[in-house]
């Protein structure tokens, strides 16, 4: 190997070193530590913050979609002058199925026309000879609705978190097709507030009151001897403090829903109590207008409406006059509740309720302590190893130590470039990489020593040592990379962080331990006579 070749290789190695240094530090701005912090993503376990995994109950969206279809069908049948038809859900376990019964024989064709109308394209229609029909939502439509529900939930949660002023939150779908959302909030450790804002689903809706109030569920049952009608539901109402609980019978299908709200502001009523002013979207405003005019005090069927928040009756009001697009919700709120609730209404309600699968919070002090001990352990371990290599392998120990340092630079640079996150187990992965990096050097050096003992010249011993050790290093690295890759694919959270650093570390190691170390040996031997000796 000639000198020129070595110069080229050295330049290549220095180039690589510079590139990865750039990955760690970026464009030098501010202090050294600041630059590193800007480029290397620290996991929440290191910098403190909250990590939540939420599950969206997407099936609920299917239920409310079919509820709406039931209400629409009833209207359509009315419009077509077909009477005596019963439209409803078959049972709650199958929210996607709507059954239509009691169609008079002389209206079969008309009914079919209604059911095959444009509004019900998303349903499969089957009929029985006795004049009953079944509408089943198409699987593709369900899938589509569920996907939309999940995406809307993500958007809604993002909007709310943004309004809270959290810097660099991460909100994304989690798991494969599991309808889960991952929320990561760096620096936020007050779970109470976060959960209030995210979880008070603020699934707000306004329903027609069908009966009540009852003092208990028992009373409601007694009042409806035939059982609660399929298109109604019994809802628990919590009054103002001190007032006894009540139960209301409400129409299942809502008049307006959370997504229909355009704006909401906290305000105060004439007595200074907090309430919420809302404005509806144009479309919903029209619907609301139609509904309230049909059921106002002076209409043919006066009624009242209930405002539901998270499936609890907040307020029941008689409909005094037709309302188009704005109204007031009074519910005995505190000012904080009124503020948060209007925030939720403004950012849109979640289309389905959610539950928590997993919540983790790390306080900033614990994170800092973990970084400190992790870094101390890494540096301590590395120094001990480097000193040992120098003592045990003398001159060749320098090769190993240089390779080790370069390995660390490449590993951290990789993390900077790829935006991978360094977690606590990741630091452990770094420590393990140091161990494996040393192992490669030891394998090579031991092999060179063997060749030297067998009487080979320094140059031949180096060449053979690398050649023999290469097979072993290759096999050991590939097996570990295989298992780390599997960990990355099937693991999550800390396991993934660990796998990432391990894979990067091992790739870097193949370069440093095999290539760089070899170039240093060659450079050392290049200018020497044939009988040169090695310090190993």
């Amino acid at each position: 190997m000639g000198n020129k070749n070595i110069a080229g290789k050295t330049a290549f190695i220095i180039g690589v070193l510079l590139v990865f240094c750039f990955g760690i530090f970026g464009i030098p701005r501010g202090g050294l530590v600041e630059s590193i912090k800007r480029n290397i993503n620290l996991g929440l376990d290191l910098k403190g913050g909250s990590h939540l995994v939420l599950q969206v109950h997407v099936a609920e969206a299917v239920g409310s979609e079919t509820d709406r279809a039931v209400a629409e069908l009833e209207q359509d049948f009315q419009k077509a002058n077909i009477s005596g038809v019963t439209v409803g859900k078959r049972d709650l376990a199958h929210p996607e199925v709507i059954s239509v019964t009691g169609v008079p024989q002389n209206h079969l064709a008309d009914a079919r026309q209604v059911l095959e109308g444009n509004d019900y394209q998303n349903y499969d229609l089957t009929s029985a000879p006795d004049g009953s029909y079944t509408l089943t939502m198409k699987p593709a439509a369900i899938k589509d609705l569920e996907t939309r529900t999940l995406n809307t939930s993500i958007e809604t949660i993002r909007a709310r978190i943004d309004k809270l002023g959290v810097t660099e939150p991460e909100i994304q779908q989690y798991g494969l097709g599991a309808n889960e959302i991952l929320v990561e909030l760096p620096g936020v450790t007050s779970l109470d507030r976060i959960e209030d804002v995210i979880q008070s689903t603020a699934k707000l809706s306004i329903h027609e009151v069908a009966g009540g109030p009852f003092n208990s569920e028992q009373d409601a049952m007694t009042a409806n001897p035939g059982g609660i009608p399929m298109d109604d539901m019994l809802v628990h109402g919590v009054g103002e403090e001190g007032a006894p609980d009540q139960f209301w019978l409400l129409k299942r299908a809502s008049v307006v829903e959370g997504t229909d709200f355009r704006d909401a502001r906290p305000s105060q009523d004439e007595n200074g109590r907090p309430d919420i002013n809302f404005t509806l979207t144009t479309d919903a405003g029209d619907r609301f207008w139609k509904y309230t005019s049909a059921h106002s005090k002076n209409s043919s069927s006066p009624g009242s409406m209930a405002i539901l928040l998270d499936n609890q009756v907040k307020e029941v009001a008689a409909i005094d006059s037709a309302i188009r697009d704005s109204g007031i919700i009074q519910g005995g709120f505190t000012q904080q509740q009124a503020n948060d609730l209007s925030l939720m209404l403004r950012t849109g309600a979640l289309p389905a309720s959610i539950s928590y699968l997993d919540t983790r919070t790390v306080g900033p002090s614990l994170g800092a302590a973990s970084i400190h001990s992790g870094v101390v352990a890494a540096i301590g371990g590395m120094l001990a190893v480097m000193i040992f290599m120098l003592i045990y392998y003398k001159g060749a120990g320098i090769n190993a130590d240089l390779a080790l340092i370069l390995n660390l630079v490449i590993l951290l640079g990789f993390m900077g470039f790829s935006n991978a996150t360094l977690t606590l187990p990741g630091i452990a992965g770094v420590i393990l990489t140091i161990g494996m990096g040393v192992d490669s050097n030891v394998l090579i050096f031991e092999r060179i020593r063997e060749e030297l003992r067998a009487g080979k010249s320094a140059a031949i011993a180096v060449q053979q040592g690398f050649a023999f050790a290469w097979t072993t290093i290759f096999d050991t690295h590939v097996t570990t990379i295989v298992s780390a890759a599997i960990l990355f694919l099937f693991g999550s959270g800390p396991v993934k962080g660990f796998a990432t650093t391990l894979v990067f570390g091992l790739l870097a190691n193949l370069f440093t331990a095999v290539y760089v170390s070899r170039v240093i040996f060659d450079a050392h031997l290049a200018g020497k006579e044939r009988g040169a000796t090695l310090s190993i």
Binding site: L191, S355, V376, V442, E446, S483, L487, P494
Partner: protein
């Protein structure tokens, strides 16, 4: 400096000692897994609530327990944290057995308000909260099991491809032996197996595999050179040739892991504990379990009158 030079130890001759040693530890661990502490799963897998609290003063565990009882939280476990160095910290982990998927957060709120009521003068900070619903825990547990199984299969297939099936089988058996003993150690000492501990166990699998491959690679190389030598001697010679590397590499890795165990803080305690045991047992098993299996396999084949030679090893990688 050199520690080992041309050692000539009859490793295979000691196989009965090795077998005894491995059996004692595997059986002890297995008994503990089956009848004593079982597999002590952490919150990550079991589900539940875990709250790490740092007090400004040395907390009295009885006092905390009392406060919890008074607040109607009867199933709380209270565990004092101490660093591996033995230094007692003013920290306590309060655990609640379950977090229902629906009322996910009530346990935490009750614990926090009970603490706030009882420690408003002396002060405390909530350092870490982990709440894992039963569904998420199960999912993670299943995920970890599959990940382990898949990575074992992945390595087996790779070794089959690069060496021969028997090498892969021997290596996987050795790794299984290491995992059993490590999990057994967690069960015997009743330490929680968390997600990070799973990462450590997978690391030890990788590490143990490395060690085994180094020995196997030398056996393969020697088989290629001297076909007449009895396998028993050849394997012994291979282990002795790689002994220097084994001791230095394992020793240095052990050094880094030990530094992690001693200075890594109690957050990494379980992780580094698994690695400390894993490095020791992984190094041992490549010499005491994996290599003897190759010889035992060949002897078994010879007894059945099959060809004597170990299946010809595949070619080595070219540089």
């Amino acid at each position: 400096m050199e520690f080992f030079r041309e050692t000539n130890i009859d490793w295979l001759g000691k196989k009965w000692y090795f077998l005894g040693f491995s059996l004692i530890f595997s059986v002890a661990g297995l008994l503990s897994i089956l009848f004593w502490h079982h597999i002590p799963l952490g919150v990550d897998f079991k589900g539940g609530t875990q709250i790490r609290v740092a007090f400004t003063q040395q907390p009295n565990e009885d006092h905390i327990r009392h406060a919890m009882d008074a607040a109607g939280i009867h199933q709380a476990t209270i565990q004092r944290i101490s660093d591996p160095s033995g230094q007692a910290a003013n920290k306590v982990i309060i655990g609640l057995p379950e977090a229902a998927d629906t009322a996910h957060d009530t346990g935490r709120q009750r614990v926090e308000s009970a603490l706030a009521e009882n420690y408003h003068d002396s002060g405390f900070t909530i350092e870490q909260v982990e709440i894992v619903g039963p569904t998420a825990g199960k999912q993670l547990q299943r995920q970890a099991e599959w990940a382990t199984l898949y990575s074992l299969i992945g390595m087996l297939v790779y070794l089959w491809f690069r060496f021969e099936l028997i090498y892969g089988v021997a290596a996987v058996v050795a790794v299984f032996h290491d995992t059993l003993i490590t999990v057994g150690a967690f069960s015997l000492t009743n330490q929680d197996i968390t997600l990070t501990v799973i990462a450590a166990i997978l690391t030890l699998i990788g590490y143990s595999m490395n060690d085994t491959i180094v020995v196997f690679d030398r056996i393969r190389e020697n088989l290629g050179v001297s076909r007449r030598e009895p396998l028993h001697d050849l394997v012994n010679r291979s282990i002795n040739q790689t002994l220097s590397r084994t001791v230095i590499s394992s020793g240095l890795t052990f050094l880094t892991v030990l530094s992690l165990y001693l200075f890594g803080g109690e957050v990494l305690h379980g992780f580094s504990f698994a690695l400390v045991i894993g490095i020791l047992i992984g190094t041992y098993s490549s010499i005491a379990v994996a290599a003897p299996m190759l010889v035992a396999y060949q002897e078994w084949r010879a007894k059945r009158g099959k060809t004597v030679a170990l299946p010809a090893a595949k070619k080595r990688a070219q540089t």
